[in-house]
């Protein structure tokens, strides 16, 4: 009897191992190993044609002291992340409007969300065209309404390029923030509002005292999405400006791509990646602290 049970147990363990193997292999090869390799590579001097040699923190020294583009890219990435609260606030306003028993709310929700699942490369091309100085929508509207006399080359301008890319990004992610916040709004128990109403609490206080505190996990999730978004916005920047003019719209991720695959400096690109990853971890932890530490609960 025991041997039958043992055989069955061994077979079950073999099954478990076989079932886990493919997924574990993929994540080992494409997540864990690359992360470790990045760190290793960042302390080495290496290229496909040259043997590896330890050089200590030389790459980091170069990055922090001599590399202006790195600082541009870092600043732009931080601006990109720093602007996401504006989009979240807009999305919250829209979510509050379409959450109530407004007729046709479902249609509004669909329209606002429609742009989120689109291919980002295509979104970049659409917005590039909207900003165009001749056939573009914005120049047409601004010129025909008399705000400007001369067409503005939005994406070729050092002042306008970054805000323009961020606006295009807002257009795409707004609907996603809205959906996250709507889910949060719908999980707030209605009786809290009723009790507050009975006590004569004004609407603004209901918002600040009930809605906002209870939305904290959803807002945290939005902020994390916003942080990640600055890393995934490679497609948008690549198509709209490719980091230009100069490096006015360069993000860390586009710079890493250029250094790695444009200049074949894999070791330096690895050091940049390590910095980018640390930035991500620190910002996410910070956001988690601000949200009260229990914000992961929404991610079911």
């Amino acid at each position: 009897m025991t041997s039958w049970y043992q055989r069955k147990r061994t077979r079950e363990l073999a099954l478990v191992a076989c079932f886990l193997a493919p997924a574990l292999t993929i994540f080992f090869l494409y997540r864990l190993l690359p992360l470790g390799w990045n760190v290793l590579l960042s302390f080495q001097s290496w290229s496909p044609l040259k043997a590896a040699a330890w050089i200590g923190v030389d790459h980091y020294e170069e990055m922090l002291l001599d590399d202006d583009v790195f600082w541009d890219a870092l600043t732009n990435t931080l601006i990109f992340i720093g602007c996401s609260p504006i989009a979240i606030a807009l999305a919250l306003a829209i979510a509050l409007l379409v959450n109530s028993d407004l007729r046709g709310a479902a249609i509004y929700r669909t329209i606002v969300f429609l742009s989120y699942p689109l291919m980002t490369v295509a979104v970049g091309i659409i917005w590039r065209w909207l900003y165009d100085e001749r056939g573009g929508f914005f120049n047409y509207v601004l010129r025909s309404s008399g705000v400007i006399d001369q067409p503005v080359k939005f994406l070729q301008s050092f002042d306008w390029a970054l805000p323009c890319v961020i606006a295009a990004d807002f257009w795409q992610v707004l609907g996603f923030y809205m959906i996250i916040l709507l889910t949060g709004l719908q999980s707030i128990p209605q009786h809290l509002y009723e009790a507050a109403r009975v006590d004569g609490v004004p609407a603004s206080a209901r918002f600040w005292r009930i809605t906002l505190p209870l939305l904290r996990p959803s807002i945290f999730l939005c902020i994390v999405v916003g942080i990640l978004n600055s890393f995934t916005s490679f497609d948008l920047v690549y198509v709209m400006t490719n980091g230009g003019p100069g490096h006015a719209t360069e993000l860390l991720i586009t710079y890493i791509y250029k250094v790695g695959f444009g200049q074949s400096r894999f070791d330096y690109a690895a050091a940049l990646t390590v910095v980018q990853f640390l930035l991500l971890v620190v910002l996410t932890m910070l956001a988690n602290r601000l949200a009260g530490g229990n914000a992961g609960s929404l991610e079911r």
């Binding site: 574990l24 659409i126 994390v224």
Partner: protein
């Protein structure tokens, strides 16, 4: 209870909807219009509309080829995900030594965004010898951690008594999965298919790194290449954009609820 009138809210939402829809309209208009797209002022309605640009895209650029490549890579990613994630999810419902470590490993991998791995990922793929191939393009997308956990939760929700009854009836482990677990996990399957479809269909950075020749390019790469060759000088570019967006939009409008649920579950990518 006195309610505020609803028309101000409708007014605001109409303005918002207008702003959200203008980009779509502008690109469709440009793809249809017969006028010189650089003529100023541009017309609001397409002048002399025609479909030549769409025909151009189909015949002059290898659009069918890009489409085929995209479909193959996406299909591979979806099959891989369903197979590997259900398997891993099922394994995690069992007790085995080291289970805690496996879960911990998955959870920590979830914190590593793919964008932060591109340099070594490229070196590993080249070492595996699958650069510039469908397999190499799909490989990092073949499994999704968040979906493994979704499947695990879904399998654990299957009533114990049902599984025991099936065992008593002599069903093998394999058939229990196929005949009982999977049919009861339809929503998990839908979530996984949708997430994988979106991520692999729209994937740009990874294919840009792995794919070298134009006949292996997927739709987003084809689009970027067309842009770099032609700039935005022709309406065909915008016809191309519309043709690329239509499949995704159609699927989204058909399965909106599953779509939104799937995307919110996978919010931070797995």
């Amino acid at each position: 209870m006195r309610r505020a009138p609803s028309w101000p809210r409708h007014a605001i939402m109409l303005v918002v909807s207008f702003l959200m829809l203008v980009p779509f309209y502008w690109v469709v208009k440009t793809s249809l219009t017969g006028e010189n797209i650089y003529a100023y002022p541009p017309h609001i309605v397409p002048v002399d509309p025609h479909l030549f640009h769409y025909v151009d895209v189909w015949y002059l650029i290898p659009f069918p080829r890009y489409l085929l490549n995209s479909v193959i890579v996406t299909a591979m990613a979806i099959c891989g995900n369903l197979l590997f994630n259900t398997a891993a999810g099922y394994a995690l419902t069992k007790q085995f030594p080291g289970r805690r470590w496996v879960v911990l490993l998955f959870l920590s991998c979830m914190l590593i965004p793919f964008q932060a791995t591109i340099i070594p990922a490229y070196l590993i793929t080249s070492w595996l010898g699958v650069l510039n191939s469908y397999l190499g393009t799909a490989l990092p997308l073949l499994s999704t951690i968040i979906c493994i956990f979704i499947f695990k939760a879904s399998f654990e929700a299957v009533p114990r008594s049902l599984i025991d009854a099936a065992r008593v009836d002599g069903l093998s482990e394999w058939r229990i999965i196929v005949r009982i677990m999977l049919p009861l996990s339809k929503s998990a399957i839908a979530t996984n298919v949708i997430l994988t479809f979106i991520w692999s269909w729209n994937a740009f950075l990874w294919p840009l790194i792995v794919i070298r020749t134009s006949e292996m390019q997927t739709l987003p790469l084809g689009l970027a290449r067309f842009l770099s060759v032609m700039e935005d000088t022709t309406g065909a570019l915008f016809a191309f954009v519309v043709m690329v967006l239509v499949p995704g939009l159609t699927i989204f409008l058909m399965a909106q609820k599953e779509f939104i649920r799937g995307l919110t579950t996978g919010a931070t990518k797995g």
